[in-house]
């Protein structure tokens, strides 16, 4: 009896269970793609490490703010939210840090969040860490940073620049995930494009309302930061004098 129960439990433990995550699941990317995405993500992470080192050396006061950006990504990526498609996904939270510190720093912070989730939550994975880091820690922050800069240069209001930066960074993260899966699993017949559309239908559509949520949350957070912590943001040259909803 006891032996049977034991065998039963061991069986359950050994059965491959779907690890629910919004990142690419452990083992679900062929080896060559795992390596390729690792190689592509690595340079960004190395540059990120250097820029963090430089930041801490030249502006030690900003260490806490860097921790804040990390904490924000930590919280947001822990929140699995329902979406209109009837499935759940979570925001990334890396847009805020990208606006504050630029994209490089966030490639390190985002990878740390992913590593935590891969090791402790079976969410994402070690083999797919490169691919997930590339989408969430490289593409997301890069898009956020660029959108923010362009929106500011075009003279858009502060809140809109922040909102668009965070929302688009979030959305494009999951578009990248779809792209990565489509590249690894081209449909037969139909090829890459068909697969891309299919994965986009899951990840990107689910992500749309969440991207809006992330945009709004980032606006609120930057509002709070800029009203109480203005001198630090000025030091970062984000230069949020006063949060202007109207121009």
């Amino acid at each position: 009896m006891l032996k049977n129960v034991l065998i039963f439990f061991v069986m359950i433990m050994l059965l491959p269970r779907p690890a629910f995550a919004m990142h690419i699941m452990e083992g679900f990317l062929p080896l060559k793609w795992c390596i390729a995405w690792y190689l592509l993500a690595l340079p960004f992470i190395i540059v990120g490490l250097f820029s963090i080192q430089k930041l801490i050396k030249t502006k030690p006061r900003l260490k806490m703010l860097l921790g804040f950006a990390g904490a924000f990504a930590f919280v947001l990526s822990a929140l699995k939210l329902p979406s209109v498609t009837g499935s759940c996904s979570h925001p990334t939270g890396v847009g805020l840090g990208a606006i504050l510190f630029g994209p490089w720093v966030m490639s390190v912070v985002g990878t740390i969040v992913l590593l935590f989730q891969a090791l402790l939550l079976a969410h994402g994975g070690i083999t797919t860490l490169g691919a997930n880091a590339f989408s969430m820690a490289v593409v997301g922050p890069l898009i956020s940073y660029c959108v923010y800069r362009v929106a500011k240069r075009l003279g858009g209001p502060q809140w809109l620049a922040v909102f668009l930066a965070a929302a688009l960074g979030d959305l494009l993260t999951y578009v990248t995930t779809s792209l990565q899966l489509a590249l690894a699993f081209p449909a037969n017949p139909g090829g890459f494009v068909i697969s891309f559309v299919k994965f986009m239908g899951i990840f990107a559509v689910t992500q749309l309302p969440l991207a809006v949520s992330e945009g709004l949350l980032t606006v609120i957070t930057l509002n709070l930061l800029s009203s109480y912590n203005e001198d630090m943001l000025t030091e970062l040259s984000v230069v949020l004098k006063e949060v202007s909803y109207e121009r």
Partner: protein
């Protein structure tokens, strides 16, 4: 501290987020609200029925409860730091204001 309309605007934005989260629950009433990745797995098996995951997570939370514990810890740690940080600077700004008076 800041004027009332500032806090009001932030509050409205927060309310909007709550709405965006709650509305899907009513729109997609009968949905399972599983992870988007679960669906991705289905599509992968459609596209390539021979594909087998070649690596398993090194460690998995033994149950949904343990998993939600870890997610809650992740969110709590982050939120705790955020609260500390903002609270610290609100306090500092207040002290500065009182000193200037």
């Amino acid at each position: 501290m800041k004027d009332k309309s500032f806090m009001l605007k932030n509050l409205m934005l927060a309310l909007l987020v709550v709405l965006i989260v709650v509305i899907p629950l009513f729109i997609a009433k009968d949905a399972e609200f599983g992870g988007a990745d679960g669906q991705a797995e289905e599509i992968i098996s459609q596209l390539d029925s021979n594909y087998q995951p070649w690596f398993k997570p090194l460690w998995e939370p033994p149950s949904g409860e343990i998993e939600s514990l870890l997610f809650a810890l992740q969110a709590a740690a982050g939120a705790g730091f955020i609260g500390y940080y903002i609270g610290y600077y609100i306090g500092q700004a207040r002290v500065r204001k009182n000193a200037n008076r």
